[in-house]
């Protein structure tokens, strides 16, 4: 398939070409840039990117599958990108998020793609950002990126998404305390899932200290039981109200610009890395790493001039 052919089929929503286009980006094949440049910017602009993150076992995949069900009732075409970490030892990955989405497996209007982080320096942002745009160009109105909230990946997803949800569940104990300072402040919505289980009320109370006042708490905190579809109507409504508001007041456009700048930086670092490695190998090993880095960068810049 040539690039133009792939682009035509992607815009026509043809499943195989969508899958292939994402692979070409992941594998950093030469024609990848051409594909991305050829995507319909209007569709990308009209799309909405929702980030779903949270600790393992909080119910992200189940919640995502329910969100998809609700969006399908609204006749939206939906894309899902499920990101899981690659093993740093083998480079392999076991991607199992699809299991919870199998209800939608035969629905042509639901496109699911599992992605491994592949040990990228810039986290998942670069490839996942490109995959989001491919799904948007294929006609997906909403694209949900789901990733496990450990380490760097949850921040990456938040910068990539238009609106992000942090999914928590009772039973994670002190982890919540540790999270307070970071991620909880940045996520737009915080969902206490499995809210029928012991400890859910206490978790919701603990979380109250994250918010500045009761009004903010009412706006940003929700309770769900995803496996029973409870609280989902309210969550979908909240997400969609928030999207509308973000579009109107320009927040969404501003976030996209920021995210685009960060993705550019990610790719730049990724491209630089392959050029830096041989230079580092040639470096005098007795120089302190900080100084060595400066020397190498200076060398690179001079090469260009």
């Amino acid at each position: 398939m040539d690039t133009r052919d792939i682009l035509r089929r992607v815009h026509g929503g043809e499943p195989r070409s969508i899958g292939r286009a994402i692979s070409l980006i992941e594998d950093q094949v030469d024609c990848a840039a051409e594909i991305l440049q050829g995507l319909d910017p209007e569709r990308i602009k009209a799309s909405f990117v929702l980030g779903v993150t949270g600790p393992p076992g909080a119910g992200k995949s189940t919640l995502t599958a329910q969100l998809v069900r609700h969006l399908r009732l609204q006749k939206q075409r939906v894309g899902i990108i499920a990101v899981d970490p690659s093993s740093p030892v083998s480079g392999g990955a076991l991607l199992g998020d699809r299991i919870r989405m199998m209800d939608h497996a035969l629905d042509q209007q639901v496109v699911v793609r599992s992605m491994a982080t592949r040990g990228k320096l810039g986290g998942l942002c670069a490839s996942a950002g490109a995959a989001v745009r491919i799904l948007a160009a294929s006609g997906c109105r909403t694209i949900i990126i789901e990733t496990v909230g450990i380490g760097q990946s949850e921040m990456d997803i938040i910068r990539l998404a238009d609106i992000s949800i942090m999914v928590l569940a009772p039973g994670f104990g002190d982890d919540i305390q540790a999270m307070k300072a970071g991620i909880l402040e940045v996520a737009d919505l915080i969902v206490v899932n499995k809210s029928d289980q012991p400890g859910a009320e206490k978790l919701a109370l603990d979380l109250a200290t994250v918010f500045q006042n009761a009004e903010e708490k009412n706006l940003r905190l929700l309770q769900t039981i995803a496996s029973e579809n409870k609280g989902l109507d309210e969550l979908v409504k909240r997400i969609q109200d928030m999207e509308k508001q973000c579009r109107l007041n320009g927040t969404l456009q501003k976030r996209r610009l920021q995210s685009s700048a960060l993705e550019t930086l990610d790719w730049a670092i990724e491209i630089l890395r392959s050029r830096l490695t041989p230079l580092i190998e040639k470096q005098d090993k007795s120089i302190d790493p900080r100084l060595a880095a400066e020397k190498i960068i200076r060398q690179l810049i001079q090469e260009k001039d």
């Binding site: 499943p15 899958g19 093993s87 083998s90 392999g92 991607l95 199992g96 497996a105």
Partner: protein
């Protein structure tokens, strides 16, 4: 492994014995594959649709219930019907020797039986994936 191979491991039919499938999924991950695991009780059509969306280079099926003669070829058919007959399908499980020839005739690339060393399985997936990647470009 410089080239990244994506494979799907799935269980068609009503058989719920997934230890073998999970063992293979983990072994492939540890050998550097990206493994999409679709779980138990899938229809051939669901497996084919997932394989296409995930753009995998090979599909691995596991069956312990004795329904492999019907289910493995059904996955091949589902892939062909969806325009993805080029994706190789490998299968394993409790499969009697006399069933191996008919399964291969139906288009299953390789059959693994109890006792097949895991390295042989990994190598077979790598070969199938490499072949498929060459066809792509």
């Amino acid at each position: 492994m410089a080239e990244k191979f994506r494979v799907l491991i799935g269980k068609p039919g009503l058989d719920g014995h997934d230890r073998g499938a999970k063992f293979i999924a983990r072994a492939l991950r540890d050998a550097g594959f990206e493994v999409i695991y679709t779980g138990i009780r899938r229809t051939p059509e669901e497996i084919a649709a997932s394989a296409i969306q995930e753009d995998v280079a090979a599909v691995g099926l596991s069956s312990m219930s004795g329904a492999h003669l019907r289910l493995f070829p059904a996955v091949i058919d589902a892939l062909r019907n969806a325009g993805a007959g080029d994706i190789p399908v490998l299968g394993g499980g409790i499969i009697p020797d006399e069933d191996i020839v008919p399964l291969k005739q139906a288009g299953i690339a390789t059959i693994f039986t109890p006792g097949t060393p895991v390295q042989v399985i990994i190598d077979a997936f790598a070969t199938a994936c490499r072949h498929h990647h060459r066809q792509r470009s």
